[in-house]
């Protein structure tokens, strides 16, 4: 059984801890069952299922640490793993940035596990694929999609009394639908903890509509445009920015959060005042793990409030050195929004471009957080509140920092890639060239 209960996990961890002869020891125990199905050209290409249960032991002597892993759980194997981790630790170089392990912690209750996802079997996946492929076949469209589901648990404990346990599930689905002549392409992606919220048929319907509607794209001149970024389009740029909020890089002067003359932009207004970004492991739409990988509690953290940088993330070492609280990087973020739907944003737009998806996003300049990439799978021209016609894809060169200073409107957030992201209406978004790609 890949998913152990809290009691079963604690029993194994305690047993392993009792074998320790090191100064400190931590134990990680995790298991999951992951399944997937992939299809292209309206036919299933691969599918599989893997179960995994593994135990990882880290032993520490002074500032030397060693890790060993095993997937056998008899007493002799467990003890052997502890001895091996200790041997590796003794041979390791000193880590001058080693910070002693955390003691017992209080963790929030999060609700990241759904029975519906844990119950998924090969028949479910086959039907999910069929529900997506069949409507495409009927309309002479070509579907390529991927579904991956996972159910598992993660537990950790250490010789200083820390113990944490969490069960979680996830399901991720993405679908690209192309027209038979290759002139139109549409995309949709969904992710949930609870599989009962997923309809592959309705997500596919969105992709089908976009594929058919995008087939006769016109070329517009590259330049600065007002854009509406659907959550699927905005999420990657925002996620890249959120991953760049490390305090050490900022303190060292090699981050967009570094400041002329030294210091950081913590406490400065860097974005439009309507921009509010926070993380919360207890959010019902994106429930996350109650602890980070090193055992720190995940709590509600405000990252950007009214456009002001409120917090940066820290490693435990850097926080200790700076004498501040070691806030862990979040597992997902929530970009607060209003109540306007995507349709409302379109309705309120005189002239603009609707973007379904951004693709092949790469950092160009970490100093300004400039990224390049392209629009993909459904790009449309909006005039007088209506989608007028499909347009050819653009390459963009834009920084999320600049983009979040050019906010026109923020819609109602929806889940995208484990985050809550609103559709965003942005002025002066920089498209630098045209692409012939469909």
């Amino acid at each position: 059984m890949a998913i152990l209960s809290k009691e079963e996990a604690k029993k194994i961890i305690d047993k392993v801890l009792a074998f320790s002869k090191a100064d400190e020891m931590s134990v990680g125990l995790s298991g999951n069952r992951t399944g997937n199905i992939r299809y292209a050209r309206n036919s299933v290409s691969t599918s599989g299922e893997t179960t995994d249960l593994s135990l990882s032991v880290t032993s520490v002597f002074g500032k030397k640490s060693g890790t060993s892993t095993i997937n056998e759980f008899d007493d002799a194997s467990l003890e052997k793993t502890v001895r091996r981790a200790e041997e590796i630790a003794k041979l390791a170089p000193d880590n001058p940035e080693y910070v002693p392990m955390l003691g017992a912690q209080q963790y929030l209750e999060t609700n990241s596990f759904a029975d519906s996802t844990a119950a998924i079997n090969p028949d479910y996946r086959a039907k999910a694929a069929f529900d997506s492929i069949d409507p495409c076949v009927k309309k002479n469209l070509t579907a390529a999609g991927y579904l991956e589901d996972s159910a598992g648990f993660s537990a950790l404990g250490n010789s200083r009394g820390l113990f944490g346990y969490n069960k979680s599930t996830s399901i991720d689905f993405s679908i690209t639908v192309r027209t038979a002549d290759g002139k139109g392409s549409g995309y949709a992606a969904r992710d949930f903890n609870d599989a009962s919220k997923l309809s592959t048929a309705s997500a596919t319907e969105v992709a089908m509509q976009k594929a058919m509607a995008s087939a006769t794209a016109k070329a517009l001149e590259p330049g600065k445009y007002t854009v509406i970024l659907e959550p699927t389009a905005g999420v990657d740029l925002l996620d890249n920015m959120m991953r760049s909020m490390d305090a050490r890089n900022a303190d060292e002067g090699r981050s967009f959060l570094g400041k002329k003359g030294g210091g950081t932009r913590l406490g400065e207004k860097l974005f439009d005042e309507r921009v509010n970004i926070y993380s919360d492991p207890q959010n019902l739409e994106i429930p996350g793990s109650p602890f980070s990988g090193d055992g720190r509690p995940q709590e509600k953290v405000m990252w950007v409030e009214n456009g002001v940088v409120k917090n940066m993330s820290y490693s435990r070492f850097w926080a200790q050195k700076q004498g501040v609280k070691a806030i862990a990087p979040p597992s997902g973020f929530i970009f607060q929004g209003g109540n306007e739907s995507l349709a409302d944003l379109i309705k309120g737009t005189e002239k603009g471009i609707l973007v379904t998806r951004l693709w092949y996003i790469r950092a160009v300049d970490p100093q300004t957080l400039l990224y390049t990439g392209l629009t993909r799978d459904g790009t449309f021209y909006i005039e007088n509140g209506q989608i007028k016609y499909p347009v050819k894809n653009f390459r963009f060169n834009e920084s999320p920092v600049i983009m979040l200073n050019n906010v026109e409107a923020i819609g109602k957030p929806v889940r995208a890639g484990g985050n809550l992201v609103p559709p965003l209406k942005i002025r002066d978004f920089t498209f630098t060239s045209l692409s012939d790609a469909v």
């Binding site: 997937n36 992939r38 299809y39 292209a40 050209r41 309206n42 299933v44 599918s47 599989g48 893997t50 995994d52 249960l53 593994s54 990882s56 890790t67 060993s68 892993t69 095993i70 997937n71 590796i88 041979l91 001058p96 940035e97 090969p122 086959a126 390529a144 999609g145 991927y146 993405s174 690209t176 192309r178 290759g182 392409s185 890089n249 060292e252 002067g253 090699r254 570094g258 002329k260 030294g262 693709w359 092949y360 790469r362 160009v364 300049d365 970490p366 100093q367 400039l370 390049t372 990439g373 392209l374 390459r395 060169n397 600049i402 630098t432 060239s433 045209l434 692409s435 012939d436 790609a437």
Partner: protein, 547 residues
């Protein structure tokens, strides 16, 4: 058991990785364990035969078995300290079958007779279950069994046998020299991979291979806190299909370039490069911001390799052309009708691009691919015309060929093998020409070295590339360093603007160590050879911004 972690690469330059994080596949073990022998060839053959028989008895019409042990040693340092040392081992058996005309795959870490027989039966069950949805039955190109064969990367020094301390000493020296020469921060890494893989198929092939790869790299950062500015320069090493001898830094493998630049062929001087990197990163701080416009580009092999990878390598993968990657990586502009026309001008007449899995010291070099096909070399673009694709056993019939190209690969025993890019290289020019000769003929140009930011659309038309170091060329002379440079072009337009190639003396390989493809994603390693090449009238943009 599958264990695949991803290490986020903070502090590394934008261009250092194809993936934003580095995959670690396997369980942590001690460095000494990596040197312990695994089961011998006779035992592997016995296990393989159990799988072949078990699958056949359950109704498979074709079976292949990969019994593999995959070793990785990764070292991560910054400034004066070792951040992490990863020693990982992963072993097990992957069994792929055809039943009812459909593929089925299953893998197990239970390397016992019972475990393998059970795994084979599961593979057949999956094939039969999936056959209900099958629209196009699998037809494999014929491949005669090759019998018992062995192949080994011809390494001189097994990197796994070199003591960790020696490697750390080198990295500390690299970091120290960079700091001495003006770097504020340095991260340096070494990646070593050894694939010990045994392949057997119902065609009668039993192939034992021992594959080695190496990649030393670093990122140097220079900061100016007063100005609130920082600049980086990544290593211009290349990942190689070599042993630790790649780090010997042989003078005979260095190519002297203009402005004190050094190119490295099959031997890398990491300390020298770190010193140059620190000096160049400092110079970047005050380099002139480029004026956007059209320039003639002189592209160093350590830069051009990535452009070849993205704009020729990926679009000529037949599975992309056919639509199998439509939901993720995308499809391709290099459609079958263009190939069938026999006159699609992919590039100028100078452009000859070959695919191969043979070239010594490259990442792609093996004896046989992961479906037992002997490796070879073939043309992709000949005299500028698209003449072929990259195809494997279940695809070559689509392009009217009878033999697979031999470019099938799985990144682990528990991953299913599929079409992956072989080495894709631009042939050097036949006329004698050095980099200096080339620069002399350029009136308004930019000389670009190293891989930087890169992005290309899902059909591989429109791309944008940056680099590590940029020099302005005016009237045949390098006049100084430039900053904020990226070029944008269209694949066909770009390759047709190729007007000059340096000769074989300037030829070097570039490599990608962690190239991602597929869902679930798999990595592979591939090299791209070229000599410095000139492309005329390419659109250059300025990437400088203020926030």
């Amino acid at each position: 058991m599958k264990r695949r972690d991803f290490m986020q690469m903070t502090g590394m330059g934008a261009g250092a990785f194809m993936l934003s994080s580095v995959p670690v596949i396997g369980n942590p073990v001690s460095a000494a364990q990596l040197l312990e022998p695994w089961i011998d060839v006779a035992a592997k053959k016995k296990f393989a035969e159990i799988a072949l028989n078990a699958a056949k008895s359950k109704g498979a019409t074709y079976t292949d078995v990969r019994i593999g042990r995959y070793l990785q040693q990764y070292l991560f340092t910054r400034e004066k300290q070792v951040q992490n040392i990863v020693n990982a081992e992963s072993y097990g058996v992957g069994i792929r079958v055809i039943a009812n005309g459909t593929w089925g795959f299953s893998a197990t870490s239970d390397v016992t007779a019972e475990g393998i027989a059970k795994c084979a039966a599961t593979a057949v069950e999956i094939a039969k279950a999936n056959s209900k949805f099958q629209k196009e039955p699998v037809i494999l190109a014929e491949q005669k069994g090759v019998g018992d064969k062995t192949w080994k990367t011809p390494i001189k020094k097994n990197a796994f046998e070199i003591p960790i301390q020696e490697k750390i000493d080198l990295l500390m020296n690299v970091n120290g020299e960079a700091m001495k020469n003006g770097a504020g921060f340095v991260t340096s890494n070494m990646f070593f991979v050894n694939e010990q893989k045994y392949f057997a198929s119902s065609d009668g092939s039993f192939i034992d291979q021992d594959v080695h790869r190496i990649w030393p790299t670093f990122t140097v950062t220079v900061t100016d806190k007063a100005a609130g500015k920082f600049k980086t320069r990544d290593a211009i090493s290349s990942p190689m299909g070599m042993g630790y001898e790649y780090l010997d830094g042989l003078a005979s493998e260095k190519i002297a370039g203009p402005n004190g630049l050094v190119g490295y062929r099959n031997s890398y001087d990491m300390v020298e490069d770190a010193i140059n990197a620190a000096k160049q990163a400092k110079e970047k701080m005050t380099a002139k911001s480029v004026l956007p416009g059209k320039y003639d580009l002189v592209l160093d092999p350590n830069h051009l390799g990535l452009t070849i990878h993205e704009s020729v390598g990926h679009p000529t993968e037949l599975d992309r052309v056919l639509g199998y990657e439509a939901n993720y990586a995308g499809t391709s502009f290099a459609t079958l009708d263009k190939w069938e026309s026999k006159n699609f001008a992919y590039g100028s007449k100078l452009v000859n691009i070959v695919a191969d899995k043979m070239q010594p010291n490259t990442l792609g070099a093996v004896g046989y691919d992961d479906e037992g096909v002997p490796c070879k070399e073939w043309d992709i673009i000949k005299d500028g015309v698209l003449v072929n694709y990259q195809a494997i056993r279940d695809q070559v019939k689509i392009i009217g060929e009878k033999e697979s190209h031999g470019c099938c690969y799985a990144d682990n025993w528990n991953s299913v093998q599929f079409q992956r890019m072989p080495n894709i290289s631009l042939k050097p020019g036949t006329e004698k020409r050095s980099v200096m000769d080339m620069i002399k003929g350029v009136e308004k140009g930019i000389y670009i070295i190293g891989r930087g930011s890169y992005s290309i659309d899902q059909q591989r038309y429109n791309f944008q590339f940056g680099g590590q170091v940029f020099y302005e060329i005016k009237n045949g002379q390098i006049t100084g360093m430039l900053d904020d440079v990226a070029y944008q072009s269209n694949t066909q337009e770009f390759w047709n603007s190729c007007t000059q190639l340096c000769d074989k003396d300037d030829y070097r390989t570039f490599g990608s160590f962690f190239d991602g493809k597929g869902q679930p994603a798999q990595v592979s390693a591939v090299s791209h050879g070229s000599a410095t090449s000139r492309f005329d009238g390419v659109n250059v943009i300025n990437t400088g911004r203020k926030i």
